[in-house]
Symmetry: C2
């Protein structure tokens, strides 16, 4: 398997299993990578052979220790590049993901560590995702989804789980950027949409969008 192919699978399995359950379905991988399910079955079998994944037929996949190590490294490269692009090169948080998607495959530890060092070894990327350190260690947090918050609570926006430019631009329009302070006013019975106050303006957030916004209680 080409390194790039391996990296894309492992990163995807990592991202899918860290959010949801431990075991990842073929379909979710196929969706994320825009591949035919048949292709994913093949891919997982190969990754199982390479000992990067434990693939149990018709059930699901999870990373082995060595697969996890590699995945963490790719995630680090991706997030360091995103941060470097945003902080040092002036790109917007809606632009960095696409570029990092390519840069992450350039495998040179010295380069990544140098970028990280210039940035002051950051622990979060522009979307609020944690950046593993050079050893793969991740700082853990007590963040929750906006959809899980309680009425009348005060929160700080810590991240997003969707990196699409459309979503990020939408958030920016309402000042819902990282670090912003919000107050949850009400949750509509009708459609579960959340009404919150941010920068003294009232904003109505759909349940779908609320699933993609990460906050911390303050």
């Amino acid at each position: 398997m080409r390194p790039e192919t391996i990296e894309n699978y492992l990163k995807t399995i990592y991202n899918l299993s860290s959010n949801n359950t431990a075991v990842v379905s073929n379909q979710k991988i196929a969706d994320k990578l825009s591949l035919n399910p048949a292709t994913v079955t093949e891919g997982l079998r190969k990754l199982h052979g390479l000992k990067y994944v434990i693939y149990e037929k018709s059930y699901g996949s999870r990373l082995t220790t060595s697969g996890s190590k590699l995945a963490l490294d790719i995630v680090r490269r991706h997030r360091i590049w995103e941060t470097y692009l945003a902080k040092e090169l002036g790109f917007g948080w809606d632009e960095v993901h696409a570029i990092a998607e390519e840069l992450e495959h350039v495998n040179n530890a010295k380069l990544i560590n140098k970028l990280a060092s210039i940035l002051g070894n950051p622990t979060y990327d522009p979307h609020g995702d944690p950046i593993p350190d050079a050893k793969g260690k991740i700082q853990k947090s007590n963040f929750i989804k906006l959809s899980e918050t309680k009425v009348k609570g005060n929160y700080k926006v810590m991240g997003v789980t969707d990196h699409s430019p459309t979503f990020l631009k939408y958030l920016e329009k309402h000042q819902l950027i990282i670090g912003a302070t919000i107050n949850v006013k009400t949750i509509e019975d009708f459609d579960n949409s959340i009404v919150l106050v941010c920068q003294k303006k009232e904003v109505n957030i759909s349940p779908k969008a609320a699933e993609c916004i990460i906050v911390q209680s303050i």
Copy 2:
């Protein structure tokens, strides 16, 4: 053809034809890319179909206008990255080529132009090779090879045509770095090796090495 494959061919043809004759042989391409000649024949036929090269069977290849444009763009990316790695990220001139070889395939004009702008839009890379501007224009020079210099002449080192770490480290050892001033003392009749003075020390340069050092008369 995959973009990366196309880019590697076009860059190679460009590099080979700018130094030597206009038309490039299959063998030289095969050597540079470490490919079987049979593979190169196939590749060139495809590139001809794509209108990037004019490939005349059993004779040679040269770039079309559109091929040249693309080649210049890849060369720009490569050399901008080399310069950025050296100047902004602290890598040595013997290290940058290998990393740039990968980074050059990340195709994002905004990124490259941003890097170039940070560097002050440089016109030469760490090896003295000219960097095309965003439109593909290259500043031309009156540089010659050290092997073409005359006895008793004073010259300034402007570049190298070999990027291998071993060669570059060898040059560094003798202070033969870019910008260094040298005085050609004698050319040995026996083996055509060049004796020169650099930083007050006498150095003996083999004809092979002298072919790879670019200088300017001062």
